[in-house]
């Protein structure tokens, strides 16, 4: 890693450390410190995992799609995860769903999600490099289809089951599912390590299919593996906080803008750290300093949506 890239990563690490310290110790008072620190620590870990997972998943997806506007969420990845969960609640019932061990249920969901994501989006992304509007449209339609199916299943299930489904259907950075944190964090860490291992090959993928094949890369296989990683990372973030539409776009845009190099060995850690910093600093601001006067997810989505429009209007769809 060259000097400017190392400086950026060091600066982001410092920012993350600073915002984490403020999050942990701001206004801690003299009460039950151990309890407060444990509560805050769990939430901090969740925010870091989600921020990094969304940032890295988006950069990976944009690379294989050869497009800076697409994100896994826009293409319906998280809607697919919610549909899987809704299907599970609908078929097993609340008791059956609750009886499943958390970790096993989550691992099964992640595996199914990765497989489905690679199958559904593998062909689409390969062709999408040639026809961006059709790819975006197909992704949006798939997202609507998944959401409609989830809504349909939710309508025919009993109200208690519906309440369970609701808990996974909305983004909430304030109430992270702590029970899933160890396994989700572990999967996210493995995926991120895998993404970093693939980083030099992803640089070649970014040249486009023709150049990558000419250079001897097994392009189609690498795209499927990358989409599998994206599926797992989206599962992790959706399981912990629910679906987020535009957050990834914002983070990936910042990473591409700030990184001094287009190399994935720089882009991926930069995107992960930016995602974590935005969530930790943002949640600190909204929860502690503004007293919950606003919701971070709404502001992040609003800013991300504006950034999406900016990219479209600037014609930077590729």
């Amino acid at each position: 890693m060259d000097r400017p890239a190392a400086t950026l990563i060091a600066a982001l690490l410092a920012l993350l450390a600073a915002s984490s310290l403020v999050w942990m110790f701001q206004g801690i008072g003299g009460g039950n410190r151990a309890f407060i620190l444990q509560l805050r620590g769990t939430k901090l870990a969740g925010l870091v995992v989600v921020g990094a997972a969304v940032g890295i998943a988006t950069v990976l997806f944009q690379t294989v799609a050869a497009n800076r506007v697409l994100t896994p969420s826009i293409m319906g990845f998280d809607a697919l995860y919610v549909l899987l969960q809704t299907g599970l609640v609908a078929s097993l019932g609340v008791a059956g769903f609750a009886a499943l061990p958390n970790a096993a249920r989550f691992l099964a969901s992640v595996a199914a999600m990765s497989l489905l994501a690679a199958m559904l989006f593998g062909t689409l992304v390969g062709r999408g490099a040639k026809d961006i509007p059709r790819t975006i449209l197909t992704g949006v339609i798939l997202g609507v289809l998944f959401r409609s199916l989830s809504t349909f299943l939710a309508r025919i299930m009993d109200p208690n089951a519906f309440a369970v489904v609701q808990s996974v259907s909305f983004a909430s950075f304030g109430s992270i599912d702590a029970a899933l944190l160890p396994v989700a964090g572990g999967i996210a860490a493995l995926c991120m390590a895998g993404a970093m291992w693939l980083a030099p090959r992803l640089d070649v993928v970014a040249l486009g299919r023709e150049a990558a094949v000419s250079l001897g890369l097994r392009f189609d296989r690498l795209v499927l593996v990358t989409l599998g990683l994206v599926g797992m990372l989206v599962s992790v973030s959706t399981a912990l906080v629910g679906p987020v539409a535009f957050f990834g776009l914002l983070v990936a845009g910042l990473a591409h803008g700030l990184a001094p190099s287009a190399r994935h060995a720089v882009l991926l850690p930069a995107a992960g750290l930016i995602g974590a910093v935005v969530l930790v600093a943002g949640q600190t601001l909204f929860e502690r300093l503004m007293g919950q006067a606003a919701t971070l997810s709404v502001v992040v989505e609003f800013a991300g949506g504006l950034f999406f429009l900016f990219l479209l209007l600037k014609g930077r769809v590729r």
């Binding site: 497009n67 023709e210 250079l215 287009a262």
Partner: protein, 273 residues
């Protein structure tokens, strides 16, 4: 040597190539010519393994395309397709550096850096080496992609319409460079060319295609003749001589502006069939 046997290809139900048998000699600049829809790019893309083989067999220097790993093939042939958009924001030297990927897989050595310098120099890109691809002209970007293909250091270079985006001077310079690669450095080049006169001036071997079939092949003097070209393009074509090579002239038909595709003459039809 590239050997093609029984190559047939369809896109959906539409036949694109019909049972093609072809042997492409090494150490030559080979031009694929023909009208739009003749199957030139499809043939090149199949040889370049950018499209899956449906029927037939292709061998490149003894390597069977169907059974040889793509990493090994990347050391035998370098390909420049028509898709030269790069999603990443790269500098010219970085792009050219990717040409060495099959040799170093992400860990470049001194020999790789030397090869990149040679490629930058060979394509006149040294002054532009630190410029971003989105800051240079389409023609300069095209040259950068060609330099990347050259840096790959393979015996075969397969180029799909490399003269796209290039003006007359740069087209001529590029063809001269390709001829130099063949003549002075012993490389073999297979390229799709739309403007027949570039093939006439620089190619050693020409393959003329129409409707998915090989209509004629051989030295420029044998392929670039009036009957063959008139039949190939369904238009009257004259062939003159210039610098001891064929020079192709076509009529502008100002008196037939309303009918750009008049019925071919009897002579044309006879050559075609």
């Amino acid at each position: 040597m590239i050997r093609i046997n029984g190559l047939t290809h369809r896109i959906g139900a539409t036949p694109i190539l019909h049972d093609i048998d072809l042997t492409l000699p090494r150490g030559k600049l080979i031009a694929l010519i023909g009208p739009n829809g003749a199957g030139k790019s499809t043939l090149l893309r199949l040889v370049a393994r950018l499209e899956p083989l449906q029927a037939g067999r292709i061998e490149i220097d003894g390597l069977d395309l169907a059974t040889t790993g793509t990493e090994r093939l990347a050391l035998a042939m370098a390909v420049m397709g028509q898709q030269t958009h790069v999603a990443s924001r790269l500098r010219v030297a970085e792009l050219v550096g990717f040409g060495r990927w099959p040799h170093h897989h992400g860990r470049p050595r001194a020999a790789d850096r030397e090869a990149v310098e040679q490629a930058l120099d060979a394509f006149g890109l040294t002054p532009l080496r630190h410029r971003f691809l989105d800051e240079i002209s389409g023609g300069q970007a095209q040259r950068a992609h060609l330099a990347m293909t050259f840096a790959q250091g393979t015996d075969w270079l397969l180029l799909d319409e490399p003269l796209n985006n290039l003006d007359m001077a740069h087209s001529r310079t590029l063809m001269a460079r390709l001829a130099d690669l063949v003549g002075a450095r012993g490389r073999s080049v297979l390229t799709v060319v739309h403007e027949v006169n570039y093939a006439a001036a620089w190619a050693d071997h020409i393959i003329a295609m129409k409707d998915g079939r090989i209509v004629a092949e051989g030295a420029p003097e044998t392929v670039l003749t009036e009957p063959v070209l008139s039949a190939l393009y369904d238009t009257p074509i004259e062939v003159s001589r210039h610098d001891d090579r064929p020079l192709v002239l076509h009529h502008h038909w100002h008196d037939q502006l309303g009918s750009p595709f008049p019925k071919p003459s009897d002579d044309t039809l006879r050559v075609l069939h």
